[in-house]
């Protein structure tokens, strides 16, 4: 197997995540797109760890998983709170901090 295959797949996934954040207006899809980008980085970590036979990359994947779980907890709490105050999941309608 060639590492370039995994690099290309990871690039495609990351680009899809960026497109999702740029184009979609639904807060939940926003969140899923961020998770897609995290997973693309994870795939690259695993691929390079396999390439060099070094487990440090796998340890970093573990830490990324932890951060993703913490992010899910805080982010979803934020979304629920925003939804409670405005009854809307459209990110363009959240402008409380705009001043």
């Amino acid at each position: 197997m060639d590492i370039l295959f995994f690099i290309y797949i990871s690039m495609a996934m990351f680009a899809v995540g960026v497109i999702g954040v740029l184009v979609k207006r639904n807060a939940l899809i926003f969140f899923l797109s961020i998770e897609l980008m995290l997973n693309a980085a994870n795939l690259l970590f695993v691929a390079f760890a396999r390439q060099w036979g070094n487990e440090t990359g796998l340890v970093w994947v573990f830490f990324v998983l932890v951060v993703a779980a913490a992010e899910a907890a805080v982010g979803l709490a934020l979304i629920i709170n925003l939804f409670r105050s405005k009854q809307i999941v459209d990110v363009d309608q959240y402008n409380v901090l705009k001043g």
Binding site: M1, D2, I3, L4, F5, F6, I7, I9, M11, A12, M13, A15, V16, V18, I19, G20, V23, K24, R25, N26, L28, I29, F31, L32, S33, L36, N39, N42, V46, A47, R50, Q51, W52, G53, E55, T56, L58, V59, V61, F62, F63, L65, V66, A69, A70, E71, A72, A73, V74, L76, A77, L78, I79, I80, F83, R84, Q87, I88, V89, D92
Partner: protein, 169 residues
């Protein structure tokens, strides 16, 4: 010369990219999250192909088992919000957004083309690579301080989630 990728890896990779497109292209959030679940499972299979068994198991347990379940709960909570979603039009100009996305993708492809010129060498794997034993050894011997610091990250995230998510008086 080893092949670029085996047939199984091609299938897994193509399904992975297609299902990640499904996350942003499908209209209903429940369908998008199911597509994301497919993405996660394909990723776990690719991790197995890269001989990282423990990470593959953690991927399914943490992502598909924990994060996506919380996510589904939130989607069920928001169920009646989707009917009103379609009447809000995005304020940003869509051509600009699409142009930014295309420019980003193009720069990534350029980067990949540059990488093509210098393929790194493949090394032999040490025995027990990717198992719980060797990964646990790395975590508890070489990365002990970050591992302990992660506990504080979790604790603070937990407190923050409870504080943010509580009902305002």
């Amino acid at each position: 010369m080893f092949p670029f990728a085996t047939i199984a890896q091609w299938i897994l990779g193509i399904v992975l990219v297609l299902s990640s497109f499904g996350v942003i292209l499908l209209e209903k959030p429940i369908h998008a999250s199911l597509s994301f679940l497919l993405t996660l499972l394909m990723l776990a299979a690719l991790y197995l192909q890269l001989s990282a068994q423990f990470i593959a198991v953690m991927q399914v347990l943490v992502y598909a088992g924990a994060i996506l379940v919380i996510f589904m709960f939130v989607i069920v909570l928001f169920q009646d919000a989707y009917q009103q979603l379609s009447k809000f039009q995005p304020r940003s100009y869509k051509p600009f957004l699409i142009f930014a996305a295309i420019a980003f993708t193009g720069s990534l492809i350029f980067l990949g083309y540059q990488l093509r010129a210098h393929p790194p060498a493949q090394r032999a794997l040490p025995t027990g690579y990717g198992t719980v034993e060797s990964l646990g050894e790395a975590l508890y011997l070489d990365f002990f301080f970050p591992f302990e610091a992660v506990i504080f990250v979790f604790l603070i995230a937990l407190i923050g989630a409870v504080y943010i998510g509580r009902k305002a008086k």
